[in-house]
């Protein structure tokens, strides 16, 4: 069946199935969400008002047997940053949506009353149903109830209480193959879905299948692609320690932001490291290896059990552990896991919320290192929607403004994640220039040489660093459109067969003949589309800046500051 656009209007509670406009046909994932948001959302609209639209899109390869192709992209104007936003996640929904023939689901308008609704997606289209049973429930209870009601095979995208309260850090939770949760974490897209009165989206693909134009070529390309992923040493490390393997490395480099970015190393890093986590997981009969979607051959997720050997959290990521750990000076992995579980249940970004609490700690709300206090803030304040809870749920910027803290690590009001830009300057350029606020996944380590975007300027010069960051962001935007997990990047960097195999997969899927240049041009087009939206929303080059404390406060142990000028950063957009 041909892919269609599924549209839902929450104002009049109508739905439609539409042909895909020609301009959108070559897009998937992030490329498609950003193209649709740019085309249909007025850039100056209120993110929680009737003119914003939530767009959900599988990637170009989602729903096929391609390894690691199960990422789901969600986009809108962000209530946290005010910019265009794409946030992606694993889970089962991307593959289910693709098998429904849904190229994108667009949710627009606002309901007139206070009722809550759910959306049921099938290959025939979308139906809107009034919902009462799971309203007010946390994500875990809601997902469990819905799995009982709808069957375990359906894809589910939910918001938790944070989304219902329209907190600006609320995320979208996506059910994974085990019935646990993955998150489109960043930028407050859960608040957008909450503003539209939608508690959850269920996806039943029935017997739908994704057509592949040339299955023989597809199988051959997938074999080469999967082999490159499995054989790569980074994939092996990820499958053993998860992304949290980075704690020790980043701490060693002096780039592990600690105590609200006042230090670059955390004395408790060994207690929260990936190596320690691995041992604790094994000791408690958890799983060190776990996939967030069918077909993942890297399996960087894990299942972390509590001291009673009972499930506590999964997908326990480095950035979350850093934010709840080093940034808040908490060295107890069980406190961090409990907080991660609560954040998943509330449906709120674990990076933004934890960084917000780090700022609150600096303000004296609780002491640095107070793990039990952090859990209490989440259960007694954020979950209950108290005044303090709503400030924290509004993100690090809101906490800084409420308490008069000047050391607030945000760009475009989104919290800077787990790599201090003073110690790792190349990442700082990406934080500053990203179209989506500070985000470590916007400029990933892609095979820039294969894509012909390796750069032509001395890479050790500032100009060269800006160019490399730009090229990484271009390549990342393209990869984000495929439905592929970004962790394919490591194999794509080192194995010359990997990225060509990915392009072969796309060509075999659609019966086309893309080249590496086409992929690069796709990435450039996406970045320019997103940048143009932000400019129309009122953003200027002056928003492409790190907070001034990074230039004023040297960070130990290397005692370095951020020293890129505005003019140097502004060359980023010279393409």
């Amino acid at each position: 069946m041909a892919d269609k656009i599924f549209r839902v209007n929450m104002t009049d509670l109508s739905t439609s199935v539409e042909d895909v406009p020609a301009d959108w046909a070559g897009h998937g994932g992030r490329g498609l969400t950003s193209t649709i948001v740019a085309a249909e959302v007025p850039p100056t609209c209120h993110p929680l008002g009737p003119n914003n639209k939530l767009v959900v899109a599988p990637g170009l390869l989602s729903g096929t047997p391609a390894a690691n192709s199960g990422r789901l992209s969600c986009g809108a104007k962000s209530p946290l940053t005010g910019t265009i936003k794409e946030s992606n996640s694993g889970g089962t929904s991307a593959q289910s949506l693709a098998k429904c023939g849904c190229k994108a689901l667009i949710i627009e308008g606002l309901p007139k009353g206070d009722a809550w609704y759910s959306l049921a997606v099938t290959p025939e289209g979308v139906t809107i149903n009034e919902e009462t049973e799971v309203i007010g429930k946390g994500n875990f209870a809601a997902t469990e109830l819905l799995s009982e009601r709808l069957g375990k095979s359906q894809g589910i995208i939910t918001i938790g209480p944070a989304g219902e309260m329209k907190m600006r850090s609320a995320n979208l939770s996506v059910k994974d193959p085990d019935g646990h949760l993955r998150s489109c974490g960043r930028g407050g897209l859960g608040a957008v879905m909450g503003s539209k009165g939608v508690k959850f989206i269920s996806i039943d693909s029935k017997d739908g299948k994704v057509e592949v134009a040339d299955m023989d070529k597809f199988r051959a390309a997938n074999k080469a692609f999967a082999k490159a992923l499995v054989d790569h040493p980074v994939s092996q490390a990820l499958g053993t320690y998860g992304t949290n393997v980075l704690v020790n490395i980043i701490n060693e480099s002096g780039g592990l932001p600690t105590r609200n970015f006042t230090q670059g190393q955390f004395e408790g890093h060994e207690q929260i490291s990936g190596e320690t986590m691995h041992d604790v997981i094994k000791e408690r009969d958890g799983k060190v290896k776990h996939n967030c979607h069918k077909g993942c051959v890297i399996q960087c997720s894990q299942i972390y059990n509590d001291v009673k050997n009972e499930y506590k959290t999964s997908g326990f990521e480095y950035e979350s552990i850093w934010a709840l750990g080093a940034d808040c000076a908490i060295d107890n992995l069980d406190h961090i896991a409990e907080a991660d579980h609560l954040l998943d249940d509330l449906g709120i970004d674990s990076i933004e919320t934890a960084v917000a609490i780090g700022v609150a700690m600096e303000a004296g709300v609780i002491e640095f290192g107070d793990g039990e206090g952090l859990i209490r803030l989440l259960t007694d304040e954020v979950a209950k929607g108290t005044g303090l809870g709503r400030i924290i749920g509004g993100g690090a910027g809101d906490v800084g403004r409420a308490f008069g803290v000047t050391r607030v690590p945000v760009v475009k009001n989104q919290a800077i994640p787990a790599y201090d830009p003073r110690a790792i300057k190349g990442i700082g350029i990406t934080y500053a220039t990203s179209t989506q606020g500070a985000d470590h996944t916007m400029g990933y380590t892609i095979a820039t040489n294969v894509l012909g975007v390796g750069g032509s300027v001395d890479p050790l010069s500032k100009e060269g660093q800006v160019e490399l960051s730009r090229n990484l962001q271009i390549a990342t935007a393209a990869i984000d459109s495929t439905g592929m997990c970004l962790f394919i990047a490591f194999a794509a960097l080192d194995d010359e067969t990997c990225l060509p195999a990915l392009i072969d997969l796309i060509n075999a899927r659609f019966g086309i003949a893309l080249t590496g240049d086409d992929v690069t041009n796709l990435g450039k087009s996406i970045l320019k589309t997103e940048h143009a939206f932000n400019q129309a929303a009122g953003f200027t080059n002056e928003d492409d800046r790190l907070p001034e404390f990074f230039s004023m406060e040297p960070v130990a142990p290397h005692n370095v500051v951020w020293d890129f000028t505005g003019a140097e950063i502004d060359t980023f957009w010279d393409f």
């Binding site: 490390a237 053993t240 490395i249 780039g255 790599y419 003073r422 470590h440 990933y444």
Partner: protein, 205 residues
């Protein structure tokens, strides 16, 4: 220096067969080795038990010295008390930035090329050598089985954080005398450095 080690407690721990992998994370805190001040990274690694030239070339992808990434293992160790960390290939852009000889090294803040090639001093240096992730899991058993010097507080922290693990040990000895876990903690509290050897019980102590 470690060449006068008679005052350093010698702790020996006997554990169940096949369980040495549970203890290798101890090495993330680092062992203390004494070497010539003119030694290179390659020579240092090659002097470790179980580290072949092929293994060093294939598996040690990320190296830090005093928090700075190192690209060339033929360069000399720097300073009187260097801290060196070794790791496999790491994920993420940051992981790529810090990998030795990485294309993305351009995005580093500091450049380890500024380090001197060789030191002129003749005395030995005490190196704190940390083993992370796959390096610890692949070679940690051999290192612990061979015995190593460690900072006592690192061992104590590990014991306190992993009490279940240390309730499973078969025997503890200090300077050939049997002792309990609390006695061992007392010794660790009193000493700055210990010699630690962990062996499975199919290897005679």
């Amino acid at each position: 220096m470690l060449n006068s080690t008679h005052h350093i407690p010698r702790l020996e721990i006997l554990i169940s067969p096949g369980s040495i992998s549970k203890y290798t994370t101890l090495l993330q805190a680092g062992i203390i080795v004494e070497r010539s001040s003119t030694i290179t990274f390659a020579e240092l690694f090659a002097s470790l038990p179980g580290f072949s030239t092929k293994y060093i070339g294939d598996r040690i992808e990320t190296i830090f010295q005093n928090g700075l990434p190192v690209d060339d293992i033929e360069t000399g160790i720097d300073g009187p008390a260097p801290v060196i960390a070794i790791s496999g290939a790491m994920p993420g852009l940051a992981g790529a930035i810090f990998r030795k000889n990485s294309f993305h090294a351009a995005l580093r803040t500091s450049d380890s090329n500024a380090l001197p090639d060789k030191l002129e001093r003749s005395e030995g240096v005490l190196i704190r050598l940390k083993f992370f992730n796959v390096i610890a899991s692949e070679k940690g058993g051999t290192i612990l089985n061979s015995g190593c010097f460690m900072k006592s507080d690192s061992v104590l922290k590990f014991i306190n954080y992993r009490p279940r693990l240390f309730s499973e040990v078969l025997s503890l000895h200090c300077n050939d005398e049997s002792l309990g876990l609390d006695d061992m903690k007392t010794i660790l509290h009193k000493s700055e450095t210990v010699y630690l050897r962990i062996q499975e019980d199919n290897v005679a102590l």
